[in-house]
Every structure is written in C-alpha cells, then in structure tokens.
Symmetry: C2
Subunit: 203 residues, 2 copies
C-alpha cells in the first residue's frame, strides 16, 4: 500500500487531463499491441475506447502523441517496479539484477498487451521522436545495469571476467529476447526453471 503523500502523481492528475484519459490510454495500448501502429486506425482506437473519433482528438493532438503517451505509460510502470526493487535490495547488486529480471519477466506475463511496444518503436526508428523515446528507456536500463554489474564484481558476488558495459547491453537485450520468445510462443519460455537457468548465464 503506497503512501498518499504526493498529490501530483499520475492518478491524481487524471481528472485534470479529462475523465476518459486513462480509459483511452489503456484501450489504445490493447489495440496497438494487437495489431501495429499503422493498422491501429484512429477509428478503431476510438471504437475500442468506447468514444467517438472526435473525442480522441480532444485528448491527444495526433495519433503519434497518443502512441508516445502509451509508450511512456508502459515504461514508467516498468521503471517504478525497478525503483521498488532498488529500495528493497539496492545494497545487494546481485539480488538487484536477479529481482529486476524477474520483475520484468512477471510484467511481460501479466501484461501481454505491453510486450510489443518496444518492437514498434524500433520499427519506427526512422522517426526521431520514436527513436528518442526508445533511446531514453534503453539507456536508462543499460546504465543502471552496468552500475550494478560493476558493484557486483567489486563485491565479488559474480564472475569478474566480464566487461560490465557489454554485460549490461546483453542483460537489457535479453528483455527483447523475452519479447521475441513470447511472440513465437516458444514453450521454453513457460518452463518453471527458465528464469533461473537464464540468470545463471550471467551471474
């Protein structure tokens, strides 16, 4: 149960952005990931959110803005989880890396509709705004992971023969592999020991 100390959270400003803001966002995430950016027409987005097309444009100036808002909504949720983990085991880098990976894994399984967003952004990377968002999120993760790998090596908690920067890239890149696996319905993904076997590669 989180504290209600800060009145300026996303939930509180909901009404300031309009009563349907959150409904539209979550419905749009569903549609975007069921199809893709181009196939998710504004007509369909509006229909699935239970509103008229015109209403959509009272909330978001363009379809692209709506999409980027969805992307931020998803990445913010992930980052919140990572911060939670950091609060719990930030002093123990090995546990941190394990917990973050597991938390991400759970997130993918709980929110199948959020899985494909990274791929969309990557695909639209010719567009600078899409690329900037992806860059922000990926580099945040790579840098945080690198810091933790360095610490873990210093503390002697993991093997010391790896380059922390390269390790961090492939730790984060593993997130994309998980997306790929779930897209291809790889059964390996569902094996109970999967995450432990995966982490053994690095740690």
């Amino acid at each position: 149960m989180p504290m209600k100390a800060e009145p300026e959270t996303a939930q509180e400003t909901e009404s300031a952005r309009g009563p349907r803001y959150n409904e539209i966002l979550t419905a749009s995430i569903e549609v975007f990931s069921r199809t893709n950016y181009e196939k998710a027409t504004t007509a369909l987005l509006a229909k699935e959110a239970g509103i008229a097309e015109g209403t959509l444009y009272r909330y978001f100036p363009t379809k692209k803005d709506l999409f980027l808002e969805c992307f931020r909504y998803i990445t913010n949720q992930m980052v919140e989880r990572y911060i939670d983990v950091y609060r719990r085991v930030g002093q123990d880098p090995r546990s941190y890396l394990i917990e973050v990976a597991k938390s991400y894994f759970e997130f993918l399984q709980e929110n199948p509709s959020m899985r494909l967003f990274m791929a969309f952004v990557l695909n639209n990377s010719f567009d600078q705004d899409f690329r900037d968002e992806l860059d922000r999120f990926v580099m945040f993760n790579v840098n945080a992971t690198e810091r933790m790998l360095r610490l873990a090596i210093e503390k002697g908690e993991i093997r010391d023969d790896i380059n922390p920067r390269v390790g961090a890239w492939f730790f984060v890149g593993g997130y994309f592999t998980l997306i790929l696996m779930s897209e291809l319905d790889a059964d390996d993904f569902k094996h109970p020991d999967f995450m432990d076997d995966l982490l053994k590669l690095f740690l």
Copy 2:
C-alpha cells in the same frame, strides 16, 4: 570461392524470373530498411529500382510477396555463411559458436540495410505469413545453436552449468541486441574488443 557445381542456385535462376529481378530485390531491401514496411510505398520502391510501378507487379503479385522475398534473400545469405562456418569448424563446437557470432556481426556491419528486417517482421507478427517466416529463421538458429552448445558441453569446451536450450535462445537473441545497438548508435558496438567481451559471457 564457392563451387559452381549446382546450376539451380538463386543466381542462376535470375533470368528465369526476369531480367530485373535481382535489381528490384536489392533496391527494395534498401528502401524497406531506410523507412519501414508501411512507409515504403510501391511508388517509391519502383522509383528506387528504376522501373515503373506496373513492372513491379509483373515480378511480384503483391507488395507483401516482395517483402517476404526480401526477407528470404537476406536470411538465405546469413544461413549460407553459417553453413560455410560449419564446413570449416563444425567439428569444434566452441569455434563454431564464436565464428558464427563474428560472421553475423560482420554481416551487420557490411549490410546496414539488412539490419532492420527482423524488427519489421516482429512488428508485423499479427500477420501469420510474416510470423511464419520469422519463426522459421529464428528456430533454425536456436536449434543449431543448442546442438552446438550441447556438443561443446559434452566435450568440456565451455562451462557445463548452463541449460543449452536457454543458452541458445539468448545467444540468438543477442543478434537482436546487436540490431538494437546499431540502431541506437551505441558506440560500445564499435569497440574493437566488443565481440570478444560479448562471447566471454557465454563461453
């Protein structure tokens, strides 16, 4: 220098498919990866190939067929490289894994326009035909890698505490991470020791 023993290779059947077949394919690959599937209009594809739009439809029944043909063209080139490596060092699983990874890495650097194709297919994975192509290529790689990891473990060439299946997935998933890195212009990608540091993670 490959042998000219088999007359039914892609190159030989070129004229049977029409005199402009290869030109259209390579120009299309360039356009698809510079933009994306939806933004690569048939008008643009034709213009870049130096032909009229109508001609495009004498060679490929639909835009989607053209795209899938491009995808196969690229993956076939990659598979040929892997087969070459197998011929050279197939008896030495550790070398095989290293050589395949390096060969892929070189391929990405030599052919920047082929990098994004995997991401496109992933993005269009709601379409069964796109998904099937991706599935074919990824599973080919995962299975081959798993076989080699098993062999390498049996021979005691690499650490024996990893699950070969999971290792194979993340070895192949690493290919996507390389795409991500080059898209984000990560300088780490260009470091001379990069590949060696990367392989040390697994081997």
